[in-house]
Amino acid sequence: MILHTVNKSPYRDNSFIECLRFIDEQASILLIEDGVYAAQSDTRFSLMLDQLGTAIRCYALAADTDARGLNDNLIERITLVDDLEFVELAARHQSVQSWF
């Protein structure tokens, strides 16, 4: 029951790929800051998210997708959350692992 957060663009950093190696069926992933670029549809990174087990929840911070103009171009798998929902996600998971 780990919430993994990724804050780097997958195009310039390995943290997203590294994070995926440690994701199990109980885990969730939350993309924040430049990490939200991984959720942009029709990219090799969003394909990796789509191929994750169906039990794994994928989230992105709405303020960050909005700031980058990505809101109309995200894979369906992604659930957008606001800051309060980020806090609730952290509370609902046993621990939070930050990838940066």
Binding site: T5, N7, I32, E33, D34, L61, A63, D82, D83, L84, F86, V87, E88, A90, A91, S95, V96, S98, W99, F100
Partner: protein, 130 residues
């Protein structure tokens, strides 16, 4: 549920401090509480009272002070990180015979033990990396 936050990034250099601030505000606004914020590495500049942003920019030290005032959250600045970056309270300024000190109100200079304590006494610790 008690939250603590570890901040590592430099204010005004990348987004991480702003994300940490938004998260801290959300914790304070929620049913949960904020136990401690630990500023480590370049993040110690959040506690620099001489930070003077332009009027249309976020006053990051002031935003943290406001969180500490509205909640009981402690703002701890790592002593080793702070001293070498020129962030000193009056005690440290006297100890090292400096002309002045610049630690902002509400911030406390202390050691890594406070981070260990935060992991023990909080239900969740969230790291905001640079």
């Amino acid at each position: 549920m008690k939250f603590s936050i570890l901040v590592l990034g430099s204010p005004y250099s990348n987004q991480s401090v702003n994300t940490a601030l938004r998260f801290a505000k959300a914790v304070v606004a929620s049913e949960h509480s904020l136990y401690r914020v630990f500023f480590y590495h370049d993040a110690v500049q959040c506690g620099n009272a001489l930070v003077t942003p332009p009027q249309d920019d976020v006053d990051i030290p002031a935003e943290w002070q406001q969180i500490s005032e509205t909640d009981t959250a402690e703002l701890i600045v790592c002593i080793a990180s702070a001293l070498k970056r020129g962030v000193l309270d009056t005690t440290e300024a006297e100890r090292y015979e400096k002309d002045s000190s610049n630690l902002a109100d509400e911030f406390i200079i202390s050691g890594l033990g406070q981070m260990v304590d935060a992991t023990i006494h909080s239900d969740r610790v969230i790291t905001f990396g640079p």
